[in-house]
């Protein structure tokens, strides 16, 4: 449908309007912003209905021509993009409605909604774009918006730092994405995703180039989807307002990476070795962060690590050629995780608490929020018949079919861990004794503007399981829809389903035992837990690397540039060591003759280069 571009354009248009004129608009601009994303949601239905009648389509206009290459702004309408359009627009809509009340007292209320609009616009543009150029543009915009939203409370030092961390870390991956796109462009002469995929499938691109390109694209996906070792930004990203975390963790930023791999899936399939890397790295990420989720005590931090773990799970699915499973899990996770984050926000709103050590017995104080939160947790833990159960089984089936027994075993361990940490949350937060005096006094249910999105998301989290068998309007399951050319029905493996149910049940029993009955298992595992609590020293490692390597490297280049080259040549090497500390600060000597000597030396070097390379 030609109008699909409005889905991205409407929030985009809302951005400058709300940002600049928010004060004078109805609801301080929030209504405009919500209306825009609402329009996107409506367009999802129109586009979806139209798509079911007419099949895949693709429209583009020329942005500008560069030499012989046409750089286009275009959209692709296929099952994947329609599917993503739905997920993104519904979650963004829910989050914005929720924010109306949650962010009510913010002085920069309008700016918040403006950036929310821009965020939604970039994400919708990302999932609709039919070429790598537009995809990269929107990809960068998503990063920029995350910077603006995570750093929304920029007065808070930690928020400003977290925002910078998220922006810079994901941009490291983006370098890979850009180079990958350029490698593919060099090989095919086109940025159009369809053209590139065709070239990859028909073997026009050499397999070496293809693998390099696929891995570079995956590097981009690793940054955005917080895969090890670029996952460090995501837990810090909770410094932003809670609805922002919901949006980032559930439906926008982090799924961009998974989406990219899915969109470029034929390229990964054609590139030998690429899918193995995706799968293994996903599994590693998932296991590592699942254990961290088990020991963190900040509610949002547990959810953040669980997000990374589930993203790893999706990557594992894609790496196991479980396209349907991966994308399916993306949806069920998006609904459940948005629900959990908004629920966590509701808990914080009602009790003022963020650490689960202070919580307990909330079930009696906030029954509605608790019910909804628990539904989300159960879905993510994989309890039947909620959404997460079906998508997890779909992934397990893919792993079973395409990976060895080792991977399957590790995946089942992962399933146990996910059940365990979700069960831990449920038991510690909602049941058991009330561990805080304040929460007993102040706890109250949240206002309806916050509850309605929760109810809607809970409905989706519960019912999304049915999509495996029946997607409204298509008459068939999600598998057939996503793979519309070579339909793939939901294929249950009964023994695997039973195994996974047993594992989930075991997880809940263990958690019940530990957190309700006080089993002393945790004591025995203390060393492991401590390791996990220190985030496997990843943050320390990064900080150390940044402190030692990057800054020292910068200093070294400067030092070499100014001191070793200059003074070494003029004053001899004596005294250099003594001056190093001082020189670090005054590395540019400021002396003309030093500069002249470097120039003369450089000419000699260049002369030698030219002569020798001739």
């Amino acid at each position: 449908m030609e109008w699909a571009w409005i889905a991205a354009a409407a929030p985009l248009a809302a951005f400058p309007l709300v940002a600049l004129r928010g004060k004078w608009l109805p609801g301080r601009g929030a209504y405009i912003s919500i209306a825009a994303i609402g329009l996107s949601f409506v367009l999802f239905w129109l586009v979806g209905a139209d798509f079911l009648r007419r099949q895949a389509d693709h429209f583009s206009i020329t942005w500008f021509n560069s030499g012989g290459t046409r750089l286009a702004l275009g959209m692709i309408i296929d099952p994947l993009s329609v599917y993503m359009l739905g997920i993104v627009s519904v979650v963004a809509l829910g989050v914005q409605v929720y924010s109306l009340k949650y962010m009510e007292h913010e002085p920069r209320f309008s700016w918040y909604f403006a950036v929310q609009s821009l965020f939604a616009a970039s994400m919708l543009g990302l999932v609709l774009s039919d070429n790598f150029l537009l995809l990269y543009v929107t990809w960068e915009l998503v990063g920029l918006c995350s910077y603006l939203l995570i750093g929304f409370w920029f007065e808070k030092r930690s928020a400003a730092e977290a925002a910078k961390k998220a922006f810079v870390t994901t941009r490291i991956g983006d370098v890979g994405l850009l180079i990958g796109i350029l490698v593919l462009f060099k090989a095919t002469g086109s940025f159009d995703i369809g053209t590139v995929i065709q070239a990859a499938e028909s073997g026009q691109i050499s397999s070496g180039t293809l693998t390099v390109a696929a891995l570079l694209l995956f590097a981009g996906a690793m940054g955005k989807s917080a895969q090890f070792p670029l996952h460090v930004w995501l837990p810090d990203a909770m410094e932003g307002p809670t609805p922002v975390s919901a949006l980032i963790h559930a439906a926008t930023m982090v799924v961009a990476g998974v989406y990219l791999v899915a969109r470029a899936f034929p390229i990964f399939e054609a590139a030998p070795g690429a899918l193995e890397v995706v799968g293994w790295l996903g599994l590693l990420t998932a296991l590592l962060t699942a254990t961290m989720a088990l020991v963190m005590t900040n509610l949002k931090q547990v959810l953040a690590y669980s997000t990374i773990s589930h993203l790893g799970f999706m990557m594992l699915a894609l790496g196991s050629i479980g396209f349907t499973g991966g994308m399916y899990h993306l949806m069920t996770h998006a609904f459940a995780k948005a629900l959990l984050f908004l629920g966590a926000g509701s808990i914080a709103h009602g009790t003022g608490l963020t650490d689960i050590k202070d919580m307990g017995g909330l079930w009696r104080k906030m029954p509605l929020t608790s019910t909804l939160f628990i539904l989300g947790a159960l879905s993510l833990a994989g309890v039947p018949p909620l959404g997460g159960f079906f998508s997890k089984d779909e992934v397990l089936a893919a792993v079973y079919h395409n990976q060895g027994p080792v991977v399957l075993g590790l995946t089942l361990v992962l399933a146990l861990l996910s059940a365990l940490y979700m069960a831990r949350l449920v038991f510690v937060v909602f049941f058991g004794p009330d561990r805080s005096r304040e929460s007993g006094v102040h706890a109250h249910e949240s206002p309806w503007q916050m509850v309605v999105p929760l109810v809607a998301l809970a409905y989706l989290a519960v019912t999304s399981g049915a999509a495996a068998f029946y997607l409204p309007g298509t008459g068939e399951g999600l598998g057939q829809f996503l793979f519309w050319e070579e339909g793939e029905a939901f294929h249950p493996l009964w023994w695997l389903i039973i195994a996974s149910m047993v594992i989930v049940a075991a997880g809940f029993v263990i958690a019940w035992g530990i957190y309700q009955r006080g089993w002393r298992v945790a004591r025995a595992l203390e060393p492991v837990a401590r390791l996990a609590r220190r985030k496997y020293y990843m943050d320390d490692l990064y900080q150390w690397t940044i402190d030692r390597v990057v800054l020292v490297f910068a200093g070294m280049v400067a030092l070499f540039d100014r001191t070793v080259v200059n003074d070494g040549g003029v004053n001899g090497s004596g005294g250099i060591v003594a001056r190093v500390g001082k020189r670090l600060r005054y590395h540019e000597t400021g002396r003309v003759y030093n500069y002249g000597l470097v120039m003369a030396g450089a000419i000699v070097v260049l002369g030698l280069m030219v002569t020798l390379l001739r």
Binding site: D561, M599, I603
Partner: protein, 474 residues
């Protein structure tokens, strides 16, 4: 017979420059600000005469001086830059510098020199124009006569500049001796095949001389000192105009004169590019002075431009031109915002920008836009132009260099964000709101519009540039 109609812009520029100098003598000090406005008006008027020449192809004085779309593109760019600098400088010159008319006159002389540089079809013409440009900048850098740092900048600049141009001149003499000509096209006929050692040395000296003017590592060491010491408008002008003019000259010289020897010099340029990108971006991190930070950032930008020179396909030349235009708008925006802030506060340390968002929200927003554009974020000129440039370079097989450039632009994001963070941090003391003048505000608005326009809809610019750069290779 020389068609003088084609030289009207140059004549008008010379006339305007002397006119502004003369006005300084006539007008009372209170009215001297009108010299800047008049100069800007004059430059914009000359743009019209440049536009009227569009599409002309001519070689004047037997090929010494070339008029084509390529030259005219740069002419327009320099004229607009000159006008922007005049308007941006006016407030600053009135408050901190003396001899307003001379300052503005020299700015216009620099425009004249740059238009000749990009029109030169021969080394002598290029050399004379380059020296004219350098002399004006020596003086403009030392313009704050009572400021020790400005004095120092001027002395350092002229000592090193004269040194580098002596080496450049020696290189030219060797090339002349080996090829028997100084015309670019003539050189092209003589540099195919194996090159004699004299010619190689000449080539290296030539590249070194130009690398100095473009502030490419390792010939960059003058730049941070001069950028920091010189008065702000001079720094702004130096960072965009001088760089653009040098690249305008280099691209013509390399594509028309040295293309047959590309295998010989490509690696030299690649090495300079890689070094500039790395050093410029890394050393920018620990900087505390905004001018110095922008100096190192512009060294990095010179590296990106050198990537395009190393690729040297018609597409890559277009990439350099597009990036130059986008970079000019972005850097002028950044500097104009800094000038406006400095005029009101007298501070130029990065830490002094704390609280800028509250004291001058408009300035802070525009400086943020400029920083985002410099870091290459989409919707701003920096993204589109860099993407175009890198695509062209990737097509020529310089992928690893593009990778380095992309990686270093992540580093650059880090230090640009530090400036932004500083502006949005609230200072402890309560400071009054800043109100930059009407003209400065207007200039800032126009530049910000240009940055966004090039970022969002580069089509028309790219189309014109592509016709311009195609001419170089015909």
């Amino acid at each position: 017979m020389v068609d003088y109609k084609l030289l009207v812009p140059q004549f008008l520029l010379a006339g305007l420059a002397f006119g502004l100098l003369a006005l300084d003598l006539v007008l009372p000090p209170a009215r001297r600000r009108y010299i800047a406005y008049l100069g800007a008006l004059g430059l914009v008027g000359i743009v019209l005469s440049t536009i009227s020449l569009r599409g002309q192809e001519a070689a004047l004085y037997g090929g010494l001086f070339l008029i084509d779309n390529y030259a005219l593109f740069f002419q327009g760019l320099f004229l607009v830059m000159g006008a922007v600098i005049l308007l941006a400088a006016e407030d600053h010159v009135r408050k901190f510098l003396g001899h307003a008319g001379e300052y503005y006159g020299l700015v216009v002389v620099a425009v004249l020199a740059m238009t000749v540089m990009t029109s030169a079809g021969e080394l002598l013409t290029a050399y004379i124009a380059l020296e004219l440009l350098s002399f004006t900048f020596y003086v403009l850098s030392a313009y704050a006569t009572r400021d020790l740092r400005s004095n120092e900048a001027g002395v350092k600049y002229i000592l090193l500049g004269a040194f580098s141009s002596a080496l450049l001149l020696y290189g030219i003499s060797l090339i002349y001796g080996a090829t028997g000509t100084t015309y670019f096209r003539g050189i092209a006929g003589a540099v195919g095949g194996t090159l004699s050692p004299g010619l190689l040395l000449g080539l290296v000296l030539l590249i070194a001389g130009f690398a100095f003017k473009a502030a490419a590592v390792p010939f960059h060491m003058w730049a941070p000192d001069v950028y920091e010491g010189a008065p702000l408008p001079t720094t702004a002008y130096l960072s965009v105009a001088a760089k653009a003019a040098v690249f305008g000259l280099l691209l013509r010289l390399f594509s028309q004169g040295l293309l047959p020897a590309i295998e010989v010099w490509r690696w030299v340029i690649v090495a300079l590019a890689a070094a500039s990108i790395t050093v410029g971006n890394l050393v920018a991190i620990p900087q505390t002075n905004i001018k110095r930070l922008l100096a190192y950032s512009s060294i990095g930008q010179a590296g990106y431009l050198l990537v395009g020179l190393a690729a040297l396909s018609p597409q890559a030349v277009s990439g350099v031109l597009v990036h130059l235009a986008g970079y000019a708008a972005t850097n002028l925006l950044a500097f104009t915002a800094v000038i406006a802030y400095y005029n009101e506060t007298g501070h130029e340390q990065i830490e002094d920008f704390a609280g800028a968002a509250e004291r001058a929200p408009y300035l802070a927003l525009l400086l943020t836009i400029a920083m985002f554009s410099l870091a290459g974020l989409p919707f701003f000129a920096g993204f589109t132009t860099k993407f175009y440039l890198f695509t062209a370079a990737a097509q020529e097989g310089l992928l690893w260099l593009v990778g380095l450039a992309a990686a270093m632009s992540v580093v650059s994001l880090y230090y640009y964000l530090m400036v932004i963070k500083q502006m949005y941090i609230h200072p402890s003391r309560h400071s009054p709101r800043l109100r930059p003048g009407f003209v400065l505000t207007g200039v800032l608005g126009v530049l910000a519009f240009a940055v966004v326009a090039i970022g969002v809809y580069p089509g028309p610019l790219v189309r014109f540039i592509e016709t311009a750069s195609k001419g170089l290779f015909s």
